[in-house]
């Protein structure tokens, strides 16, 4: 059984001008110890998916339908107090894109960490301090004692992200949601964080949901990848299948639009603009931009269907895999 099973999740933002249907039936599941990547462009709903899962949506956003099954319980209908006490931060932890903003600026990072340990894990001050040092050390932070005595603004971006990760790990969660964990960090630091997350997964066996717009990061880190377009999953599958032989035209186009060294001529781009979520196109939301579109595409939303084992695609006219390419790949 999956650790987390999101089915037909619908989240809307109710604005003065109307309902913005940001998530329009999202289906994903994560197994124990699995790293799942959720990739998509701005406005595709990837962060909203994460915030919906642990119910941290800000006004005027609201879950309007669907289920989030966490080890048998539906988080959408769970009491807020139960969710807060038993699940959020404890079983499911989250790290954010801007770690320095997510930390409390007026108390030391050490105190932030020991507070969690005291409250959540019932430790004494002394125990908490020792445990905090142990956690921070395990993240390869040099000179942990003095780091713990610093305030967030005294830390570099990479260091602040490590502190965020140590906070998230303090309750030994079974799922870590990482929202753009390396965006805004420098390339050399990015790689250190990626290495660290990989190592943590291997060591603790926790599952990780990585939300990112960075295809290269997803390819490097994830066991499986889900591609989100305008609030719906376009394609989800094992990382190597998805990158070697994408079946959804959007995935294929997204992969082709990367600039590369030595590339001659224009980069292949996706025509048109991202779907307007206030008035999304009928049928498949990608059809006005899709090179493979058929007449049926503007009428019916394609269901997410199995193509190869473990690769699901929501498309009426998926990309044909070339036999040779598939064989050599």
């Amino acid at each position: 059984m999956s650790l987390l099973e999101v089915s037909d999740l619908r989240t809307s933002f109710f604005l003065r001008t109307g309902e913005l249907r940001v998530l329009d039936g999202v289906n994903i599941d994560i197994d124990e110890g699995e790293v799942l990547g959720l990739v998509g462009e701005t406005g595709s709903g990837k962060s909203v998916t994460a915030y919906s899962i642990i119910r941290l949506l800000k006004q005027p956003g609201r879950i309007v339908g669907g289920e989030v099954r966490w080890r048998g319980r539906d988080l959408v209908t769970l009491w807020e107090s139960e969710l807060e006490q038993e699940i959020r931060g404890k079983e499911i932890a989250m790290i954010f894109q801007n770690p320095r903003e997510a930390l409390n600026p007026v108390i030391t990072v050490g105190r932030q960490l020991t507070q969690v340990l005291e409250i959540r894990r019932g430790m004494s001050k002394r125990e908490a301090r020792l445990e905090a040092i142990k956690i921070v050390k395990s993240l390869h932070i040099s000179d942990p004692e003095s780091r713990l005595n610093s305030h967030p603004h005294q830390l570099s971006g990479g260091m602040a992200q490590r502190i965020m990760i140590s906070l998230a790990l303090s309750c030994e969660p079974r799922l870590l949601i990482a929202d753009e964990p390396t965006t805004g960090l420098d390339v050399t630091t990015q790689y250190q964080i990626v290495q660290l997350l990989r190592e943590l997964r291997d060591r603790t066996g926790m599952a990780i949901l990585i939300i990112t717009h960075d295809l290269a990061l997803a390819a490097q880190m994830c066991d499986r990848v889900a591609v989100l377009y305008a609030g719906k999953i376009a394609e989800v599958g094992r990382t190597e299948y998805l990158f070697r032989s994408p079946r959804h035209p959007y995935t294929k186009a997204l992969l082709a639009s990367r600039p590369r060294l030595g590339l001659k001529g224009d980069i292949v781009t996706i025509p048109g603009n991202v779907a307007n979520l206030m008035h999304p196109p009928g049928g498949c939301r990608f059809h006005p931009r899709c090179p493979n579109a058929l007449s049926i595409c503007s009428e019916f939303q394609p269901p997410l269907e199995q193509m190869e084992p473990g690769q699901l695609v929501a498309c009426h006219n998926p990309v044909v895999v070339h036999q040779e390419a598939a064989a050599s790949g």
């Binding site: 040099s142 390339v187 050399t188 639009s257 600039p259």
Partner: protein, 352 residues
């Protein structure tokens, strides 16, 4: 310092005239570090570069390496603390404010934040028309036609002319920023992270536009970015910066395939290859970029460099030639002690 000046004078095979010559430029910013204490942030610390007509020079490096500061100094948006910036025959550093303003049409910039760099109270056509009117580059009767022409050049439809910046998407805003920079027919354009705020698919279209403009107009550009894939696609030569200094300089293809400086080696091993699935171990630099207030005294990479020797901690490194048009500020690379293959070997050793 004499060595550095000498290095900048090495003759280059390309016959095109030098448009921009930066010589030993230093830019320090004072910051208060205590009630009575001021220290200097050494944002740019002795950089010499040349940009030739029709060429696109890429400036890469991580945040805080001074690449944006250098771009601003190159256009005389800020005066350098010391050093010389020559635009053609004109020494920009000694110009008065009025003289800089008269030269401004030839020196243009595209900024990273497209919305923040457009006047929110002006319709976008007015933003593009402003430099034309200000510098009397078009007769009032011709301005509209010129603006329309610029709009079509950057791929914006006429119906957007009368919109305000906030009504446009990020990609469209950046196109307006580019149209404004192109309006006065500049001779040098500095683009500071023009695609960084955009999504992959929007970014791809903008990159195609920039490449087309470069070919059609033979623009001379300095392209600043931390995105190595974009730099690799769009530039002719690359200068790699670390902590206010240029550590390596050379033709783009050479820098990407045969990096000689260990820092460049680490950056390049982070560039996603054609096969994104190739989970190669990267050449990892331990630790973090030190503070530009107190940079390491000799080679600035030495504390993080897996190839560092005692000499690296004692001797300041200057750019030395290691091949055609290829210079590196690392004595071990210049004297043939380390090469691109060593970066590969170290990377593989890490993998085990």
């Amino acid at each position: 310092m004499a060595e550095r000046a000498q290095a900048a004078n090495i003759p280059v095979l390309t016959p095109d005239p030098v448009v921009l010559a930066i010589d030993n430029v230093v830019k320090h910013y004072p910051i208060k570090t205590g009630a009575f204490k001021t220290e200097q942030v050494r944002a740019v610390d002795g950089v010499s570069l040349e940009v030739r007509r029709g060429e696109t020079l890429g400036l890469v490096g991580e945040s805080g390496c001074g690449k944006s500061t250098l771009g601003r100094v190159a256009l005389r948006l800020e005066p350098p603390t010391s050093g010389s910036v020559r635009f053609g025959d004109v020494e920009l550093t000694s110009l008065s404010g009025g003289e800089v303003r008269r030269l401004r049409p030839k020196l243009q910039m595209v900024f990273q934040d497209p919305l923040g760099s457009l006047n929110p109270r002006m319709k976008v056509w007015q933003t593009v028309a402003e430099p034309l009117l200000l510098h009397r580059l078009a007769a009032p009767g011709q301005v509209r036609a010129k603006v329309r022409d610029l709009f079509s050049r950057v791929g914006l439809s006429d119906e957007l002319l009368t919109r305000y910046p906030h009504e446009l998407s990020g990609g469209q805003q950046q196109r307006v920023g580019i149209a404004r920079a192109l309006a006065p027919n500049p001779e040098l354009v500095v683009l500071d992270e023009p695609t960084s705020a955009l999504d992959v698919s929007v970014q791809a279209k903008l990159i195609n536009l920039l490449r087309g403009l470069k070919e059609d107009l033979r623009l001379t550009q300095v392209f600043i970015s931390h995105d190595l894939s974009v730099i690799g696609y769009l530039t002719d030569r690359v200068a790699v910066m670390y902590l206010g200094e240029v550590v390596e300089l050379g033709p783009t293809a050479t820098i990407y395939t045969e990096p000689r400086h260990p820092y460049t080696g680490a950056l390049m091993s982070a560039v996603p290859g054609d096969d994104l699935l190739d989970r190669k171990t990267r050449l990892m630099l331990p630790g973090e970029v030190p503070s530009p207030i107190k940079p390491p005294p000799a080679c600035r990479l030495a504390p993080r460099c897996p190839f560092a020797r005692d000499r690296c901690r004692q001797e300041k490194q200057v750019l030395r030639s290691v091949g055609a048009d290829h210079m590196v500020a690392c004595w071990r690379a210049a004297e043939g002690e380390i090469s691109t293959q060593d970066f590969e070997r170290t990377r593989l050793a890490l993998e085990v």
